[in-house]
Amino acid sequence: MMALCLPSLHLFFYPHPNLRSSYYPYRVPVSSKLRASLITKEEAPEAEEPPLPSSLRALDRKPLSAHEGTLTPRSVDFNAWYLDVIARAELADYGPVRGTMVIRPYGYAIWEAIQDYLNAKFKETGHSNMYFPQFIPYSFIEKEASHVEGFSPELAVVTIGGGKELEEKLVVRPTSETIVNHMFTQWIQSYRDLPMMINQWANVTRWEMRTKPFIRTLEFLWQEGHTAHATAEEAEKEALLMIDVYKKFAYEQAAIPVIAGRKSKAETFAGASCTYTIEAMMGDRKALQAGTSHNLGQNFSRAFETQFTDENGQRQHVWQTSWAISTRFIGGIILTHGDDAGLMLPPRLAPVQVVIVPIWKKDDEKIGVLSTAVTVEQTLKSADIRVKIDGSEQRTPGWKFNFWELKGVPVRIEIGPREVADGSVVVSRRDVPGKLGKDFGICMEPSMLINHVKSRLEDVQASLLRSATLFRDRNIVDVRSYEELKEAISQGKWARGPWSASLCLVDDSQRR
């Protein structure tokens, strides 16, 4: 039909001949080897793990019917499952330019939920939103060449504008430090101008070689906070405060039990004093860096001469932080909680928290069922629950059950003629399969129904966090020697051990 040919899946798997490992924010190339040796090898086969009780991992859930095409099971090909689920749950599509993605409404709604929560937290902690231009003069980038050494092959460069060759090449922002510092230098004169605490929600571009929807895309959406302080203590406090904001967000909203910690020297952002990170364990036990907060010290302020006059009249360089979370986080949610039936979205971030499936066999049942469904929908809406009715006549109830499970909706309400007669509904949880996950005969009386649904949503939220935590803990091994570390890694697990933090030890283990 269409001449436009969307890139095939292959482009996302087969390494380009000029493959250069490239990293998600604030990483330098050497870290890839370190990461690989410490965490898990991409080529290593999945270690056998003993089956978890079905209440915790719903691996036995029935996949979609053959007519629709099944999802690749996670244990067979985790990556294929991930791409299948993104396509089938309508989260994203591939962009016209290799490596870009179209975020469809369902996926974008998750981003909006993340934005709403974090935006409020940033305002609470005293930050103001701004918007910096997307284009950076090439000369700016060159000013801090050491910092963006890792980025330079990834920069998208504009040379033609309005039909004319531009006087100076422009870079499409990969991150905004250069512009932000340029402006901080102009705005900060005295200690009274500090602390300066700003944030921006924007799109950034990194011309990556290997891409994966949400996880690593050519263009992605994020927030980047930038702050300047009068003392080192304040900057450190801010860096820790923000990683804590991210950690709480991960635990409480996304039900992801991240491990907050400090990066090794080799992994720290080139130019930062230290980098704090939240690391999440995905369903295949790989680690995902889900958010970072850097204490930049005075490295940038010295490079950009960002100074202030302190209370004693002395000129000093400011102490800075920067911190970011991006659409990658959505990938983290998919990879942490999904199962073979599809997505499992934590209720607090789910665009649809409750789906109502009306069920009827005969035409005369239809009206009663549908109008009851509408009543239930209104009741739940009045309690600010995000609810939707799937009243379409083209699909069977069974199809709808599978579809909304695929889309990860936490709670399903089933209404058939019997429920209409009884004045009750069936409430079903996404995270517990079969009869075990269903509550029958839930009264439709508004306050009772609302209470029941709300507590079910909280149950799902808590259970997602609990099972992700259990999974993570089962896959972390405490080690005391290099041999034990190697053993743990070969099993696909994470190793935790005492470390002298010396750089030469790191190089050594990379080599081995």
Partner: protein, 507 residues
């Protein structure tokens, strides 16, 4: 800890620092040097910072609150209409950009191209979106199969780039700007037509209810409509100081043109293959520029209360040996009371600036209402309120402060709107002949004329009025048409007039 002597001497040293002279005043006057005044006021009001790339500006927090307030309103309204937000890529390939010939003719001259990644040249240059029709519509084609997939209603909040060479002006004309673009597809033209007007009404509300700016709703001429679309409706504002019209926001019916180009077909209820009817609609950060131009004065910005980041600024007024602590506490509690009542209130307790300096500073920033609290006010259990729009000062008792502040803010909005409307209406000139038209144009008027509605005539007017100030063009054909007596002739061609249309120079 420093000794008592040291701390006193540093206090004295700091006292000397107290800024009395404002040094804040604007060098340019709005009625004398409008262009320079505008550039000055957006910088001094801390809305904009100029940047090393011409035509690109930094939007400071004072601006972002205005943008975010409008965004919250508009986003909530379109969600009620079942429009869903999504995000499409910034980059578009050349072949896709070329799909709609008229569209590309309209936008091609303004596209920025990425030609390199790092040091290496890209095989094929990639364009940065000037607008997202060509990015999105291939997906419409993929996602729409049957009538049950319709209507498809998507919107995105994003940045776009148009590499223009005409005089860049913060907010009004910049090479990168923020906007929303809605793109919808329907099974029938009637549905599309209906939505075009629903959205246009939302744009009117943004201007009139949030920004206190009067606008005219109308339809664009064939020459001025969206490149590639069927018809364009818009809300038009007018800047009396420069005598220029300014397009406030647009709501287009694209007809089936893009559906043809992108093969966006669906199977209708009869089982036949049909093409969808589409709309697209957008408003941008330009709205903020219009707000500054219409309401600002020689003291600085004047912000309509609904969008002001700070609606009420509370300033302590020391007097001789007054007990500053009590005054500060009164300021804090006033701010608290107002915040609890839902107002965006702040206090300015900085000890290195005098009250006079603070008054000028917050007037520059356009805060709608100032509250002054001095020892006398505390004694009389009152506060002094000062309006930014007309400078009126009133003492109000604390007991009814919240209600009074509410009333005053509403009154400020109304006053700003009425004043703007009066000024705009005074600029409207109805003309019937070419001579009258030229006179009105030179008088910086918003000109309403009977017109024969012919594209050649319109082009001719543009050519004949070309000059330093730019040519005159149609701004819109207002929905609200005055009566057109039979036999009325077009002002430019002398042929029978078909409708009344607004003309003028524009941004």
């Amino acid at each position: 800890m420093a000794t008592a002597n040291a701390s006193t001497s540093s206090k004295n040293a700091r006292k000397k620092e107290v800024k009395k002279e404002t040094g804040l005043g604007l060098a340019y006057k709005k009625n004398e040097s409008f262009g320079e005044w505008y550039s000055e006021v957006v910088v001094n009001g801390e809305m904009i910072e100029y940047y090393d790339i011409s035509g690109c500006y930094i939007l400071r927090p004072w601006t972002m609150v205005i943008w975010e307030t409008m965004q919250a309103f508009f986003d909530a309204e379109i969600k009620k209409m079942n429009v869903k937000n999504a995000y499409f890529p910034l980059f578009v390939t050349e072949n896709v950009l070329q799909k709609e010939k008229n569209h590309i003719e309209g936008f091609a001259p303004e596209v920025a191209w990425v030609t390199k990644s790092g040091q290496s040249d890209l095989e094929v240059p990639i364009a940065i979106r000037p607008t997202s029709e060509t990015v999105m519509y291939p997906y419409f084609s993929k996602w729409i199969r049957g009538h049950r997939d319709l209507p498809l209603k998507l919107n995105q909040w994003c940045n776009v780039v148009r590499w223009e060479f005409s005089h860049p002006t913060p907010f009004i004309r910049s090479r990168e700007f923020l906007w929303q673009e809605g793109h919808t597809a329907f099974a029938t033209k009637e549905e599309a037509d209906k939505e075009v007007l629903e959205i246009l009404e939302l744009y009117r509300r943004i201007y009139e209810e949030y920004l206190a700016i009067p606008v005219v709703k109308g339809k664009k001429s064939e020459l001025e409509k969206f490149a590639g679309g069927l018809y364009t409706t818009s809300v038009e504002a007018f800047i009396p100081n420069t005598g220029r019209g300014i397009q406030g926001a647009t709501s287009h019916c694209l007809g089936q043109n893009f559906a043809k180009m992108f093969e966006i077909d669906f199977e209708n209820e009869k089982g036949e293959k049909a093409k969808v009817w589409q709309n697209s609609w957008a408003y941008s950060t330009r709205t903020i520029g219009v707000m500054v131009m219409v309401h600002g004065d020689d003291k600085g910005l004047v912000l309509p209360p609904k969008v002001a980041a700070v609606q009420v600024i509370v300033i302590p007024v020391p007097y001789k040996d007054a007990d500053m602590q009590t005054i500060f506490e009164a300021c804090s509690s006033t701010v608290q009371t107002l915040r609890v009542a839902g107002f965006r209130a702040e206090h300015d307790l900085r000890d290195n600036y005098s009250p006079g300096w603070k008054y000028s500073n917050w007037e520059m920033k356009g805060v709608p209402l100032r509250i002054e609290i001095g020892p006398k006010d505390i004694a009389n259990k009152q506060v002094r309120i000062v309006r930014r729009d007309n400078g009126a000062k009133t003492d109000i008792p604390i007991s009814c402060m919240v209600e009074q502040v509410q009333d005053v803010l509403s009154s400020i909005h109304e006053n700003l709107f009425n004043a703007a409307k009066e000024k705009r209406d005074a600029c409207i000139k109805v003309v019937h002949t070419w001579e009258e038209f030229m006179t009105a144009l030179n008088d910086k008027k918003l000109i309403l004329t009977p017109w024969c509605d012919e594209e050649e005539v319109e082009k001719n007017v543009k050519t004949r009025t070309k000059g330093e100030l730019g040519s005159a063009k149609t701004l819109c054909t207002p929905f609200d048409q005055p009566s057109l007596p039979e036999g009325t002739l077009c002002f430019a061609s002398g042929k029978p007039a078909k409708k009344w249309t607004y003309w003028g120079r524009s941004y």
